[in-house]
């Protein structure tokens, strides 16, 4: 169940860095987008982006990953025996 580094980068590191950077850059700005404070418009855009990033990781790396279910079944069986 060790994730690939590429999966961690796409699903966690890139969106995480983007989120923090965006808040730091836009948080103090008086700029508005369609009347909405820029930092809030940015956060709203991040909602679907975060889902998209995880979905890409899922499709490319994690859908067919080894979830070690056989390993768990084996030990659970021991504990219930």
């Amino acid at each position: 169940m060790i994730p690939r580094m590429a999966s961690v980068t796409i699903a966690l590191i890139v969106p995480g860095v983007l989120l923090i950077t965006g808040i730091l850059l836009l948080g103090s700005s008086p700029a508005k987008f369609l009347g909405i404070p820029a930092v809030l418009a940015f956060m709203f855009a991040m909602f679907p982006f975060m889902s998209l990033a995880m979905w890409i990781s899922w499709r490319l790396f994690d859908k067919d990953a080894d979830y070690q279910l056989d390993d768990v079944d084996e030990q659970t069986g021991e504990m219930h025996s």
């Binding site: 923090i20 808040i23 930092v39 809030l40 909602f47 080894d66 979830y67 504990m79 219930h80």
Partner: protein, 486 residues
């Protein structure tokens, strides 16, 4: 009409709670983790249901009313960043939960580190820092019911909510909050969108609402310096604790497979698309209901609803909001009961765990009622207070994934030091130039681990739970088995 709609919502919820008993077993396992039979949709609903409590619908607008975008950015940010962390972390917690036959985090820690001390420390801290979470629900419930304009006393208000929560939990265990969450999650989004639609149709446009909110003091920017530091540090600190809450771990180990749990994380951020609607109402409240301060800022959302909605819809809104508190209160109470009967009180047989859990639930709710009535608080403060302690659990969880030669007793000491430090900082009013006080408390926790690692290291590091077969030695599993069958 207002009351009729309110009662109707709650009756439907009680009906669903009772329906959840159909086909359910009566074992302790079924009571606590639904027989580990929940699929990805139920897990999604449970996690969403328990994360988005009345703190979202009532507390969030109150926080924005008081602090503007600063509050909303850390609130939305830590939840958003929590999901990709959960994407990688939750399958590992599920695996550990299944291997150790665990129903909660202290179970997992005992199984992995083979330590009763660590289990007990984690359980006690879990109980202590879940009390503000219950206060949060009861405070929100008071606000929601005040919207009905019945003039009910706070005591009567919280007793109504607690009474319904007890019906859910005592009859159906975890199945009731799981099933009722379907209705509650729908009601949450419906209520938020409904009020926002009324704001848009009866109020000015978005740009004017934001401009009017900025007239007194700026609500649309985060000032540089300590406020920005506080926003970022709170976001990062609480995102680490997002999936450490006892009720979330209990929901995760209730799942059928790690694949379903991971898939559920992908869709979670889309549920957050309700926030733009909630923010609209929050900003509108600043100009529509001026003059609220302190704990009264909690009233922001319900005040807007009272001004704009017809009576029967107000009843629906109050009912939906109350349901958010009741479902989360029920799930939290069940988790607390489980922690005490299973992890704190030693040598309780499986058969006696269920009645003991039910007794503990009574006591937990009673304590929460007293604290809610004795010390009314801003809801955002209650959320932060829970996180100060709960986030400390990230350290032992990280050590399960990235092993180090640290003794379990040192890990327990680190948890205790981090938690006590956070309480100390909170009580003393320490500010740390804007840094969330949970951060230095977490640093204290880590310092204990570091000292323990080099002064009195464990003979060897355990295997990571991420590795195949990687949890603990055969001796540990035997111990775990003995405890289970006692």
């Amino acid at each position: 009409m207002t009351i009729a709609m309110f009662v109707l919502v709650l009756l439907v919820a009680v009906g669903l709670g009772l329906y959840s008993r159909v086909g359910a077993g009566s074992s302790t396992s079924d009571f606590m983790v639904g027989g580990r039979s929940f699929g990805s949709i139920v897990i999604f609903i449970m996690v969403v249901g328990e994360v988005y409590s009345i703190g979202t619908i009532i507390g969030f607008p109150g926080g924005v009313y008081a602090d503007g975008v600063m509050y909303s950015v850390w609130f939305m940010g830590y939840i958003l960043l929590g999901y990709p962390i959960g994407y990688f972390l939750l399958p590992l917690l599920w695996k550990a939960g299944r291997k150790y036959d665990a129903v909660n985090l202290p179970d997992i820690l005992r199984g992995h580190f083979n330590s009763r001390t660590l289990e007990l420390t984690a359980a006690v801290l879990g109980v202590v820092f879940m009390v503000p979470w219950a206060q949060l629900q009861l405070t929100g419930l008071e606000v929601a019911l005040s919207g009905l304009g019945l003039g009910l006393s706070p005591l009567v208000t919280v007793l109504i909510g607690v009474g319904i929560s007890l019906v859910f939990v005592l009859l159906s265990g975890i199945r009731a909050p799981a099933y009722v969450s379907f209705l509650k999650d729908f009601a949450l989004v419906f209520v938020i969108v409904l009020v926002a639609v009324f704001v848009l149709s009866k109020g000015p446009n978005v740009a004017t609402i934001v401009a009017e909110a900025d007239l007194g003091s700026s609500h649309s920017t985060i000032p540089a310096g300590p406020p920005m530091i506080n926003t970022i540090s709170t976001l990062l600190f609480q995102t680490l604790g997002f999936y450490m809450f006892p009720f979330v771990v209990q929901a995760v180990v209730s799942g059928k497979s790690p694949v379903g749990i991971r898939r559920s994380q992908i869709a979670m951020p889309l549920y957050m698309l309700m926030y733009p609607f909630l923010l609209l109402t929050s900003f509108f409240a600043i100009s529509a209901a001026p003059g609220l301060s302190g704990a009264d800022t909690n009233l922001a959302f319900i005040e807007v609803a009272r001004q704009l909605l017809p009576d029967w819809l107000l009843g629906l809104v109050a009912g939906g909001a109350a349901l958010c508190a009741i479902v989360v209160l029920a799930a939290s109470a069940l988790v607390i009961g489980t922690l005490v009967s299973r992890n704190i009180v030693p040598h309780v047989s499986e058969a006696r765990q269920k009645p003991l859990t039910q007794a503990v639930i009574f006591v937990y709710l009673a304590i929460s009622i007293v604290l809610t009535l004795a010390a009314p608080s801003i809801m955002g403060t209650l959320i932060n207070t829970s996180y100060y302690g709960i986030t400390q659990f990230i350290v032992p969880v990280a050590l399960m994934i990235f092993p180090a030669r640290v003794r379990p007793s040192v890990i327990a000491l680190g948890l205790a030091v981090g938690s006590v430090a956070s309480i100390g900082f909170y009580v003393s009013g320490a500010t740390f130039s804007g840094v969330n006080i949970g951060v230095p408390a977490l640093a204290a926790n880590l310092l204990v681990i570091l000292i323990g690692r080099f002064v009195a290291p464990a003979p060897k590091a355990l295997r990571s739970i991420a590795l195949r077969g990687g949890t603990s030695s055969p001796d540990t599993r035997t111990t775990s088995k003995k405890v289970r069958s006692s």
